[in-house]
Amino acid sequence: MIIIDVLVSIFIVYLVVFIIYLLGNKKKRNSDTYLCGERTTAIKVKYKVRWIFYASLFIAFDATIVLVAITSLSLNIVTIIFLVLITLSLLFIPKEEERDE
C-alpha cells in the first residue's frame, strides 16, 4: 500500500512541477560561451590522484553508516569495533595538502 502511495506522490509532484515549467516562457535559443572575449567550450576538469583516496573512504563510510543505521536495533560490540576501525582509517589522510587551484 505504501509503495502505491509513494508512486502516486512521485507522479503528482512531477506533474505539478512540469505544469509550472510549462507555464514559463517557452522561447529557447542557443548562444556561444565567451571567456575574456574568446569563444570557449566545455572542459575536462582534472582530478588529482588523492581524490581517489577520499572517494574510497567516502564509499566505505557511506556503506557503514547506512548499515549501522539500519541495524540500530541489534547493535553489539562488533558494530563498535567496526566503527572504531573505520574511524581510525582517518589517520591515514595525508597531513599536508597542497592548494588546489
Binding site: 556561444d32 571567456l35 582517518l90
Partner: protein, 323 residues
Amino acid sequence: MNKIAMILIWVLLSFIFALFYEWFDRKVYARFQNRVGPQITGYKGILQPLADFIKLLKKESIFPVGSNTFLIIFSAISSVALMFFILLFIPLYDFNAPLSFNGDLILLFGIGVLIDILIIITGYSVACPYSNAGAAREAEMIISIEIPFGVSLATIIAISKSISIKENLIFQSLGVPLIIFAPLGFIAYILSSMAKVEKVPFDAPNAESEIVAGWSTEISGRTLALFRLSSDLDLFFLASFGAIIFLGGPTLPYFNLPELLFFNQILNFIILFIKTLGIIFLITMIRSLTARYRIDQVIKFFWKIIIPLTMLNLIAIIIFSLG
C-alpha cells in the same frame, strides 16, 4: 482522493514556506550587513522571492551551443519534484505526514544525495568551463559533506532505535530533544546542511568571485527558476528536518497539551515554525560572519575535524546504549 488533495496542499504549503524562508534569510542577512534587504514587493518585501521566481519563469532560456539541453531540463524538473516529494515526509502540525513508513529516514538521506548528483549532472551538461568547474567542486564537496550528514542521522537512529521520523518524534515527545545526547551530531548536521545549500563559507561550487555562478553559470529562464526554487525548498527541508530530528519538531519536552485537537495542531505548527526559523537564523548568522573556504579547505575541515567528532559521538552513543 483525500490523499491526493493532501499531497497537493502539502506541495502548496512547501512552496509558500520555501519562499517565506528565503525572504527571512535575505532579510536577516541584510540586517547583519547593515542593509534593509527586500522591502518593495509586499509587506517589508515579503513577496520579493515570489516576484523573482515569476520573473525568471517568464524569461527566455538560453543554452550554450553543445550543451545537453534535455539533461539540464530533466535535472531542473527532477530536483524540484524530488524536493517536493521528500517534504511530504515532514510532519508540520502533529506526528503524521502525508507519507510515512518505517525506514523513511534512510530514504530521505538517499534522495538528498540524488538531488546533489543532479546538480553535478547539470554542471557537466552545460558546455561552459565555469559550469564544469562548479560541477567538479560539487562532486568533491559531496564526498566530504554526506558522511557527517549521514553520521548525524545514524546517531539519531542509534538513540531513538528507530529509522522512522514518526517514531523518532514520539521518542522525543516522551523525553528530551535528541540534541542533548548528540550535540556534535547537531553541529555536523548544521554545517553539512549549509554545504548542501551552498551557503558561505561552503559555497565553493558557485563562488561568484572565482567561477561566476559555478554550475549554474549558463542556466537561465524557467530552468534557473526551478533550480532556485529547488535550493529554497532544500533550505526549508533541511531546517525543518533538523528541527524535527534534533529539537523535537512540533513538540515541547515534558509538555503534554490538553486534548483539544485543533488547538493542539495550531500550537504544534507554531512550535515547529519557530524552531525552523531558529535553525535558518543560525545558518544565516554563520553565513554572515564567515568568509568563503577554498574547496580543499572545505574537504580538510570536514574530513579532519567534523567526521572524527561525529564518529566519536556515534561510538559514545552506541557504547552508552549497550551499557
